[in-house]
């Protein structure tokens, strides 16, 4: 029966292909199994968006790694956010504009080479040069010569910034374009890390296995899957790891990570889904859950470049809208208390000495439906008759936008006063914001780069600020920010910034909504888990029991 054999052949072929395909999987199972023993911590991770270069890392996943493998000039205290010298011995200036940086000698990269002044100067020049396409290039804009290496149009006319000069192995000088008294405290940001010589000589090889001078070094890295980090024996700083290493595991979905945390296959999970948060907030987490403020503020901005939003009367409308939002209720019901209602334009992680001022926003941020209605009517009603709040639909913003609109509608007694306007992707949303195409309100958020009040005000609200999405422009505000930057004394500088911030109360380019918290849950294997002000776990402090 030839036909019958043909059938059998077909069936055998299909199953054997299937078996061969599955069979090869079992051979790989006996891998390193780094999760067990040796005090190694398995931690949640997401795939970094950009290559792992310090000046090219502006999101939390890449940032987590950069902070583990690098030590910068200064570092931030995970609890108080205070900046202290790390690799820098001193950063001094007599005029708040020309700075001399002295390094602690003898620090080493994990490949054995020494960290010198040249490591910093070369790294910064690389980061600023526009042909290197580093997303953090704008962080070097305060250094003299930035416009030559990154002109707005055309090719760079210089390869290095004129403001950077190496004096000797452990000293370099930086000339800024303006007075900037708190500049040393910004230098803990990822973009300012030094780079070893191999970065420039073997760039592709470096990206496969980055080398730094930080508490950890990379042992193995499989892109978009996992990274194994072990303590760096050459590290000279104060944050020596208290565990045997960190295994960063990339997860496809927050729920998958939470399942692994529950079944004991994961130790640290700092991307918790709403469902997981509800369980953790109410249920028995064994105290292994933390919900703590992070340096992130969420706001709603207005398109002040549109004529109907820029009038003096529209100011009243914006004030009214802010008072129509019932922040405490939304925070409780939508966010299960993982946000805190905002009362200023900064963040509680700065602390009072760093510039956070509880209640600076005053009545503007307090729910008052009658006054809200009155102010909006006084201002001639909402421009265009209806308020739209635009947001990117891929970011989980729908719930709170709808709740916010609902609150405004109830205050105004008109259920068509405010509607959410979803925009498909984050990229499209950002294109429309950057292209000044907004006609109504839109969501904005600001995650600090370094814990300074300057970072919450200057990039976001000064006339040419790099993130001034509402295109707010107030010469008095700009002047006040410059004055604050020129002030050598920390306390006076902070209060000068707060004076600038007070102008936002009447002008309302953006409505403060709430401060975002960082959340983390951990397994019973590990102890001493905390989050830094950037909502990244302090990996070096984690101990394994």
């Amino acid at each position: 029966m030839p036909a019958a054999t043909r059938v059998r052949w077909a069936v055998i072929a299909v199953t054997s292909v299937a078996l061969a395909a599955t069979g090869c999987s079992s051979s790989k199972s006996s891998g390193s199994g780094g999760g067990s023993g040796g005090g190694v911590v398995k931690a949640w991770w997401g795939d970094p968006q950009n290559p792992l270069e310090p000046a090219n890392t502006n999101e939390v996943n890449g940032g987590a790694v950069e902070n583990m493998i690098f030590a910068g000039l200064v570092q931030y205290d995970p609890k108080t956010s205070a900046a202290s010298n790390a690799n820098a011995d001193s950063i001094t200036s007599s005029d708040q504009q020309n700075w001399t940086v002295k390094l602690k000698p003898g620090w080493k990269f994990s490949d054995g080479t020494t960290v010198t002044a040249k490591s910093y100067v070369d790294a910064w020049n690389y980061g600023a040069l526009s042909t290197n396409k580093q997303v953090n290039a704008s962080f070097f804009q305060y250094i003299q010569g930035f416009n030559d290496v990154a002109p707005a149009t055309g090719s760079p006319t210089a390869q290095t910034m004129s403001g950077l000069k190496v004096v000797d192995d452990n000293t370099f000088t930086v000339a800024l374009t303006q007075k900037f008294s708190t500049w040393p405290q910004t230098l803990g940001y990822t973009a300012y890390y030094p780079l070893p010589a191999t970065f420039f000589s073997d760039h592709a090889g470096y990206l496969d296995k980055p080398v730094g001078n930080g508490p950890y070094k990379i042992q193995s890295y499989t892109r978009s899957q996992q990274m194994q980090l072990v303590p760096n024996p050459d590290y000279s700083g104060t944050n020596k790891p208290k565990n045997g290493g960190i295994n960063l595991v990339v997860y496809t979905d927050p729920n998958a990570a939470y399942s692994d945390l529950q079944s004991g296959a994961l130790d640290i999970d700092n991307t918790l889904s709403t469902t997981a948060l509800k369980t953790l907030a109410n249920g028995p987490s064994g105290g292994r859950f933390l919900n703590t403020p992070a340096g992130i503020i969420q706001t709603v901005s207005f398109p002040l470049y549109q004529s109907n939003w820029s009038t003096d009367k529209a100011k009243l409308v914006r004030q009214g809208i802010s008072m129509a939002i019932d922040r405490p209720t939304i925070v409780k019901t939508i966010f299960t208390n993982t946000r805190t209602p905002a009362t200023d334009w900064t963040s509680p992680v700065l602390g009072a000495s760093g510039g956070f001022k509880d209640g600076l926003c005053g009545d503007l941020c307090t729910y008052n439906p009658t006054k809200a209605k009155q102010l909006i009517e006084q201002g001639g009603g909402i421009p265009g008759g209806q308020l739209t709040i635009s947001y990117n639909a891929d970011g989980g913003h729908k719930d709170w936008v709808d709740a916010t609109c609902n609150s405004i509608n109830q205050a105004l007694g008109n259920n068509k006063a405010c509607v959410g306007n979803p925009i498909g992707t984050f990229a499209d949303f950002r294109n429309q914001v950057a292209g000044k195409k907004m006609t109504g309100a839109f969501r904005t958020g600001w995650q600090m780069d370094y814990p300074l009040i300057q970072d919450f005000l200057q990039p976001v609200y000064t006339t040419d600020g790099s993130s001034n999405d509402s295109h707010y422009s107030n010469p008095q505000f700009d002047a006040q920010v410059n004055k604050a930057n020129a002030e050598p004394d920390q306390a006076t500088s902070v209060s000068a910034f707060q004076d600038a911030e007070k102008m936002l109360v009447t002008d309302v380019p953006a409505i403060p909504l709430w401060y975002q918290n960082g959340t983390v849950a951990w397994s019973s294997r590990v102890n001493n888990v905390m989050l830094d002000p950037f909502s990244v776990p302090v990996y070096t402090e984690v101990t394994v029991s």
Binding site: A18, A21, S26, A256
Partner: protein, 307 residues
């Protein structure tokens, strides 16, 4: 037969060009990806211009497509924004999905046809009714519900199987996602088999085979089942492609770094190279699976011949 295969292969060329172009256009319709790279910060104009130049984003769309296809034929799929080559993404994602698909496919074939045969032969009895109810339940529950429930019960609560797959893809860890991925198709296969088996069991040739005194096993397997498998094979063939491309939900639930997940991330990050590269391979898989199904018809039914 040879000419038929050749003709089918030639037909794939326009389909291939058409689909890749459509995907290319669709990903571009999402807008400029460069702004998203800078997060909530306005991009530095100099850097943004350099990135646009690197990815040919300033060219008209048709030129971008031609440049892309030109590179594709040199086996250069381009790179993602994170600097990873798409070829290396393909090399890491496809084997994983292939294993998952294989596990799911075996489950689907063995249990689907097995249950279908059982209930087709015992029409109206308890076995038949339980299979019908069971498959109805499976079809009506969405995959992500089955996925999360099974993951919680089997993986977290009872700890029988790993809750997720992760980096070391072991056979054991693929059983659960394989079952979830196969479940809905399995139900369809069972129902399809049941109907055709029930229909054909009254056919003349079956009666003849029984009258000839052939053993029951032989009647069922060689005569009844073989003739009943044609619609099932059609379904399985198209399903093979769907399993590979449509494992998105299952892959996310069980942390499998396969095709579905990589594709999803490519779309979210608007990495045209990733999306078009992966879809290109998926299109080829679909086309080949369909060709294979058509060829299998001839094997199953001698009356079908391809000139």
């Amino acid at each position: 037969m040879g000419r038929y295969v050749l003709r089918r292969l030639l037909q794939m060329i326009p389909v291939f060009i058409g689909t890749t172009f459509l995907i290319f256009v669709m990903v571009h319709a999402l807008g400029d990806p460069v702004n998203a790279l800078f997060g909530d910060r306005a991009p530095d104009p100099a850097v943004a211009a350099q990135i646009r130049a690197q990815y040919n984003l300033n060219d008209p769309l048709w030129l971008q497509y031609l440049k892309y296809m030109g590179k594709l034929f040199q086996w250069d799929f381009g790179t993602t924004f994170s600097g990873q080559t798409v070829t290396s993404q393909l090399a890491s994602a496809y084997p994983v999905t292939l294993r998952l698909t294989a596990v799911a496919f075996v489950i689907e074939v063995v249990f689907g046809i097995g249950l279908g045969l059982l209930s087709g032969l015992r029409r109206g009895r308890v076995a038949d009714n339980s299979v019908l109810i069971l498959t109805l339940v499976v079809i009506s529950i969405p995959t992500f519900v089955t996925g999360y429930v099974l993951q919680y019960l089997v993986g977290v609560k009872w700890g029988i199987l790993p809750a997720t797959v992760g980096f070391d893809v072991t056979f054991k860890s693929l059983i659960l996602p394989g079952l979830v991925l196969a479940s809905v198709s399995l139900a369809y296969v069972a129902r399809l088999t049941r109907t055709t088996v029930a229909e054909n069991s009254k056919a003349d040739y079956v009666r003849t085979a029984v009258a000839k005194g052939l053993p029951r096993r032989r009647v069922v397997i060689n005569h009844l089942l073989r003739n009943s498998l044609i619609p099932v094979v059609t379904f399985l063939g198209t399903d093979l492609g769907a399993l590979m491309g449509g494992a998105l939900v299952t892959e996310r639930i069980f942390n499998i770094h396969g095709v579905g997940y990589t594709l999803y991330q490519g779309i979210v990050r608007q990495s045209t190279n990733t999306v078009v590269g992966f879809v290109t391979i998926l299109v080829i898989v679909f086309l080949l699976a369909n060709l294979l199904v058509d060829l299998l018809y001839a094997v199953l039914d001698p009356r079908i011949r391809y000139a």
